[in-house]
C-alpha cells in the first residue's frame, strides 16, 4: 500500500531517515557482520594475528559435548517455561473472561509483573528459595525436602523456570484475554444450544478459535526464554551449579567474559542469529497467512 | 476574482492509464461550474489538477490569467472542500479555519475578524471551540466550507462535498452552498456524480464520460437538447427512454419486439441504425385522439403502476413484447396492469441519436 498524496523533496527525506539509519548501521549491521567475519577467523595465542579458518570454529563448537548440553538445557528450559506460562495464563484468562464485569480489574492485578525487570524477578525468587533464610526453602525443609538451588542442579533449574514463568504469565494472560474477548459471544451461545457443555465447548470451539493467538505467543515466548531470561539466570544461578542452567545466550556471555576464543564466541553469536531469524521467519509466514484470511 | 481556463488538458498516469483527455473549457469569472459524470469519468482528477494536487500531463490550466501548471497548490489562490472534509481532527473549529491564514502570515486581528465573519455566515458561532469529532456531519461540512471562505480565494473547488450527508441535509446544504456562492460571487468548480445536484447548482454544466467532455452548457439546455446519447441517458431522472429504431414501411419501428410506433418522423435514419429518446415526462396516456402533428403514437402494455401522489409512474412495454418504457404522468391516472394503452409524444420532445457514433440527429433539419 502506498500513499497517493506525498511531498516533494530530495535531501529532506534522507535527513529524516539519517539518524535511525546511522544508528542501525553502526550498532546493528557493523557488529553483526563483525561477528560473522570473526566466526571464520582464528586468533593466535597472543591475539596478535588471525587467519581465515573457514568453518573450523563451528566444527570445534559442535565437537564439544558441553555445547550440546547447553543446547539441551536451553531446549528443556524453553519448553518448560513456554508450556507452563502459556497454560497458566490461558487458564487464568478463561476464568477472567467469564467475569464480564471484573475482567478489567483482574487484568490490572495480573499484568504488572510484565514491568518487573527479569533480573529483579530473579532476585525476588532467589530470596524465597535462598537455602538458609528463604521462607519457602525453610518451609520445604520442614516438610522434609532439602532445597538448595546453589548446589542441586534440578533445584536450580526449577528456580529459574519458576521465576521466568512468573514474569511471563502476565504477558500471555493479556493476549489470551484479548483473544477470548474477541470471540463473538453468539458462537459460544450457538455451541451451547447445540448441546456442548462448557469444557467440551472450550476444546472444540474456543481453543481452535484462539489458535492464532496461541501460535503467536508460542513464538514470542520462545524468543523471550532465549534472550530475556538472561537477567533471571545471572541474578539467581549465574548458569550454575555446574552449568546446569546455562542457556545459549548465557554461554556466549560467560565464554566471552572469560575471553580468549574470539572466533568460537563469534560462531556462537552467529548460530543464535540464525535461530532468531528462523523463528521470526516462522512468525512472518504465520502473519502472512493471517492477512490472507 | 478570476476565470479558470483549461486548454487541451490531459492526464496520463505513470502506468500508462489515461484519466483525462483533451479537456477544454472556460469558467467565467464568478460562475458556478459543475463537473458531472459517473464514477471514474475523470472529473475528480480534473478538479485535482486545477487544485495542483495532480500534475498536468498535457495542456495548460490558468487561473485569473496566470498559467498555474507549475505553481504549488498553496500559491494558486484556491480553496478546496473535500468529500470527507479533511478537517484537522486535533484542532478546534476556530483553528481549522485559521490554519491556512496563519501559514500565510495573516495578522492575528485579521484572522479573528475573518473567522468570526465566516462563523456567523455559516452559523458556527457557538461551535468555534469544539473539535471536529464533537460535530455532526452537517456541522463538519460547514466548517470545511468556512475553511474555504476565510481564505477569500480566487476560486473555490468542491470535491463531492455533500455525498457523506443524509438526503435531507444534502438538499439543505445544496441550497446553502448556492446562496453562499451567489453572495460571494467567487468562481467555483464543483464535482459531483449526482445529476440532480449538478442541475440545481450549476450555471455551467460540464458532463464528462471516460475522461472526455461530452457536453458543456446551461443545465436546462443540456436537458432540452442533449448532444450525445450519454448525456441524454445521464441527465434527467428517471432516465430518458431509449429505443432502438429502424425505418419500416410505415415509418419508424422498434428493432426489438412487435410494432408499436405509429407515425414517421420524415427523416432519414442512418444505415447503422438509430436510437429514439423520449423522456418519461413527455409521454402521455391518451384515449383515441391522433398523435400530435409530426409526433408519434405508441401502443403500450402496462405492467406495473407506482402512484406516489403528485405523480404516477407507469412501467411497461412498447407493443406487447417490445423494449421497456417508463412513463411519468402528473397526478393520478387509472391504468390497470396488463391493459394496453395508447401513448403519444410531441415532435419537439423527441430525440434521435446515431446508434454508432452516439451523436444527435437533428429532427428539425
Amino acid at each position: 500500500m502506498e500513499k497517493r498524496a506525498i511531498f516533494q523533496g530530495r535531501l529532506l527525506p534522507f535527513a529524516l531517515v539519517a539518524p535511525q539509519l546511522v544508528v542501525t548501521l553502526v550498532f546493528f549491521y557493523w557488529p553483526a557482520s563483525q561477528a560473522v567475519w570473526q566466526s571464520f577467523l582464528q586468533e593466535d595465542a597472543f591475539g596478535l594475528s588471525s587467519e581465515f579458518v573457514g568453518f573450523a570454529n563451528y566444527r570445534d563448537l559442535f565437537a564439544k559435548a558441553d555445547y550440546y548440553r547447553t543446547i539441551g538445557t536451553t531446549a528443556f528450559f524453553s519448553a518448560l517455561v513456554t508450556a507452563l506460562s502459556l497454560s497458566i495464563a490461558l487458564f487464568l484468562a478463561v476464568q477472567a473472561d467469564r467475569q464480564l464485569k471484573g475482567a478489567t480489574a483482574y487484568r490490572t492485578l495480573l499484568i504488572w509483573p510484565y514491568a518487573v525487570a527479569p533480573a529483579v524477578a530473579g532476585v525476588l525468587w532467589f530470596f524465597m528459595f535462598q537455602p538458609s533464610l528463604g521462607l519457602v526453602s525453610q518451609g520445604l525443609r520442614g516438610l522434609g525436602f532439602t532445597w538448595n538451588p546453589l548446589l542441586d542442579s534440578t533445584d536450580a533449574m526449577a528456580l529459574v523456570v519458576m521465576a521466568a514463568t512468573w514474569k511471563q504469565v502476565s504477558y500471555n494472560f493479556l493476549f489470551f484475554l484479548a483473544g477470548l474477548q474477541a470471540i463473538p459471544k453468539s458462537v459460544i451461545e450457538a455451541a451451547a444450544i447445540d448441546g456442548a457443555r462448557p469444557v467440551r465447548r472450550f476444546w472444540t470451539i474456543v481453543f481452535p478459535l484462539l489458535s492464532p493467538t496461541t501460535f503467536y505467543l508460542f513464538v514470542v515466548n520462545v524468543v523471550y526464554v532465549f534472550f530475556d531470561t538472561f537477567g533471571i539466570i545471572d541474578a539467581t544461578t549465574a548458569g550454575g551449579p555446574a552449568k546446569a542452567t546455562e542457556t545459549l545466550v548465557y554461554k556466549v556471555y560467560s565464554d566471552g567474559r572469560v575471553g580468549g576464543d574470539l572466533g568460537g564466541s563469534a560462531a556462537q553469536s552467529v548460530i543464535l542469529m540464525v535461530i532468531v531469524i528462523a523463528l521470526t521467519a516462522v512468525q512472518f509466514r504465520f502473519i502472512e497467512r493471517k492477512v490472507q484470511y | 476574482m478570476a476565470e479558470v481556463v483549461l486548454t487541451g488538458v490531459g492526464k496520463t498516469y505513470a502506468g500508462g492509464v489515461t484519466a483525462v483527455t483533451d479537456v477544454e473549457f472556460t469558467v467565467p469569472d464568478g460562475a458556478f461550474c459543475v463537473l458531472v459524470g459517473p464514477s471514474g469519468c475523470g472529473k475528480s482528477t480534473l478538479l485535482r489538477m486545477i487544485a495542483g494536487l495532480e500534475t498536468i500531463t498535457t495542456g495548460t490550466v490558468s487561473i485569473g490569467g496566470r498559467v498555474v501548471n507549475a505553481v504549488e497548490p498553496a500559491e494558486r489562490d484556491i480553496a478546496m472542500v473535500f468529500q470527507n472534509y479533511a478537517l484537522y481532527p486535533h484542532m478546534s473549529v476556530y483553528d481549522n479555519m485559521a490554519y491556512g491564514l496563519r501559514n500565510r502570515g495573516t495578522p492575528k486581528a485579521e484572522i479573528e475578524t475573518r473567522v468570526r465573519e465566516a462563523a456567523r455566515v455559516l452559523e458556527l458561532g457557538d461551535l468555534l471551540a469544539r473539535k471536529p469529532r464533537q460535530l455532526s456531519g452537517g456541522q463538519r461540512q460547514r466548517v470545511a466550507m468556512g475553511r474555504a471562505i476565510v481564505r477569500k480565494p480566487q476560486v473555490f473547488l468542491f470535491d463531492e462535498p455533500l455525498s457523506n450527508l443524509d438526503a435531507k441535509l444534502r438538499v439543505q446544504m445544496r441550497v446553502e452552498i448556492r446562496r453562499l456562492q451567489r453572495s460571494l460571487a467567487t468562481t467555483s468548480v464543483y464535482v459531483t456524480h449526482d445529476q440532480l445536484e449538478a442541475m440545481t447548482l450549476a450555471d455551467m454544466l460540464v458532463v464528462m464520460n471516460k475522461g472526455r467532455v461530452e457536453q458543456i452548457g446551461a443545465p436546462l439546455d443540456l436537458y432540452r437538447r442533449p448532444e450525445t446519447l450519454f448525456v441524454a441517458g445521464f441527465i434527467g431522472a428517471p432516465p430518458m427512454n431509449l429505443i432502438d429504431v429502424a425505418i419500416g414501411p410505415d415509418g419508424l419501428r422498434p428493432v426489438a419486439g412487435d410494432a408499436g410506433i405509429v407515425g414517421g418522423l420524415g427523416i432519414a435514419v442512418p444505415a447503422t441504425g438509430a436510437r429514439l429518446g423520449i423522456r418519461p415526462e413527455h409521454l402521455h396516456v391518451v384515449g383515441d385522439e391522433p398523435a400530435p402533428e409530426g409526433g408519434i403514437a405508441l401502443s403500450y402494455t402496462v405492467s406495473a403502476v407506482e402512484a406516489v401522489g403528485a405523480e404516477t409512474f407507469l412501467h411497461g412495454r412498447l407493443g406487447a413484447t417490445g423494449p421497456d418504457v417508463v412513463i411519468r404522468e402528473p397526478g393520478t391516472i387509472a391504468a390497470a396492469p396488463g391493459t394496453v394503452r395508447r401513448v403519444v409524444a410531441r415532435r419537439d420532445d423527441l430525440h434521435l441519436f446515431d446508434r454508432e457514433t452516439g451523436r444527435r440527429i437533428p429532427l428539425d433539419a
Partner: protein
C-alpha cells in the same frame, strides 16, 4: 459463559484471587523484608507482616548505600535508570517518527532498501551480537557514558513499523488540505501528523520506557564505574549468592524501588500499555 451458575462464578473468582496472590507473594515478601533488620532476616525467622524499619531502610538504601562493600547509594542508580529509560524511549520515538515520515510521505532513491534495512533489525536483539557491539562502543570511547548506555539501544524497528502503520491510516486529504493551506512537509509533520500520533506515541513510550528501565546485560557490560550503574545492575551486585551476610533488607528495598517506576507506568497507563503491546504484534 452461557450457563448461570453462581457456584462456578464464585470458583472462577477464587481461582483468579489465588493466581493474583501467587503473583504478588514474592513482591510482598520483598516489601516485608525491606522493613526488618538484617538479623531478623538472616536467622530465617522473618514474620509475614511488615516490620518497624521502613523509613530507616529506605533512607539508607537511597542515600547511604550498603555497608559491606563500598557501593553507591541507590538514589544515584535510580537517576541513571531514569536517564537511560527516558533517553531510550524518547530517542526511539523521535528517530522512528522521522524515519517513518520519510518512508511514508516521500519517494526517494533506496527508499525500500532503507525500510528493509531497518525492518530486519527486528530480528537482532542486542544479546546475539553483544561483544562486537561492545567493542564498537569501546572503540568510540563511549564506555561508562550515557551515550554508550542508550544510543546502541535506540534504533528500533518496532516503533518505526508502528508509526508507519499509523501514518498509512491518516487520510490523504489531510495532506492535500495542508498543501492548500500553505503548509510544507515539516509544517505538516509538526502541526498535523505528530499531534495526530499522540496516542501511538504514548503507547510506544510506555513500552519503551519499560524496555529501557529493565535493560540488564547491556549496562552490565558497558558500565564499569559504580556511579554509572543502573538500579537493575546495582541490586544484583548487592547480593552475594553464597554469602549469608548480604544485607537483604537493603537489597529488597532496592528491589522494590527498582520495580516501582515501571510497574506504576504500566498500571497508570494501562490502556496505552495494552494498546502498545497489541499493536506491535501486527
Amino acid at each position: 459463559m452461557v450457563e448461570h451458575r453462581p457456584f462456578g462464578t464464585a470458583l472462577a473468582h477464587l481461582t483468579l484471587l489465588i493466581g493474583i496472590a501467587i503473583l504478588a507473594f514474592p513482591v510482598y515478601l520483598a516489601f516485608v523484608a525491606s522493613t526488618w533488620d538484617a538479623a531478623t532476616i538472616a536467622n530465617g525467622k522473618m514474620p509475614l507482616t511488615p516490620g518497624p524499619l521502613f523509613l530507616e531502610n529506605y533512607w539508607r538504601t537511597l542515600f547511604v548505600g550498603t555497608s559491606g562493600t563500598t557501593r553507591q547509594p541507590v538514589g544515584g542508580m535510580l537517576f541513571n535508570s531514569f536517564v537511560m529509560a527516558m533517553t531510550i524511549a524518547i530517542g526511539k520515538i523521535v528517530i522512528s517518527l522521522t524515519s517513518a515520515f520519510a518512508v511514508v510521505y516521500f519517494r526517494f532513491p533506496f527508499r525500500m532498501t532503507i525500510f528493509w534495512l531497518i525492518f530486519v533489525t527486528l530480528m537482532l536483539p542486542v544479546e546475539v551480537r553483544i561483544y562486537p557491539t561492545y567493542k564498537i562502543v569501546a572503540d568510540l570511547n563511549m564506555l561508562d557514558t550515557y551515550a554508550g548506555l542508550t544510543i546502541p539501544l535506540i534504533a528500533s524497528a518496532t516503533a518505526t513499523l508502528l508509526f508507519r502503520q499509523f501514518f498509512m491510516t491518516v487520510p490523504d486529504e489531510l495532506v492535500e488540505a495542508s498543501k492548500i493551506d500553505g503548509a510544507g512537509p515539516m509544517k505538516f509533520f509538526r502541526d498535523t501528523l505528530v499531534p495526530l500520533s499522540v496516542t501511538s506515541v504514548a503507547a510506544m513510550f510506555v513500552i519503551q520506557f519499560i524496555y529501557g528501565w529493565n535493560q540488564y546485560l547491556w549496562p552490565l557490560l558497558i558500565t564499569t564505574r559504580d556511579d554509572m550503574q543502573t538500579i537493575v545492575i546495582g541490586i544484583k551486585k548487592m547480593i552475594v549468592t553464597q554469602d549469608a551476610l548480604t544485607e537483604w533488607q537493603l537489597a529488597m528495598a532496592t528491589a522494590v524501588l527498582a520495580m516501582l517506576p515501571p510497574v506504576l507506568v504500566v498500571i497508570v497507563m494501562q490502556k496505552l500499555f495494552v494498546r502498545g503491546l497489541v499493536e506491535t504484534e501486527k
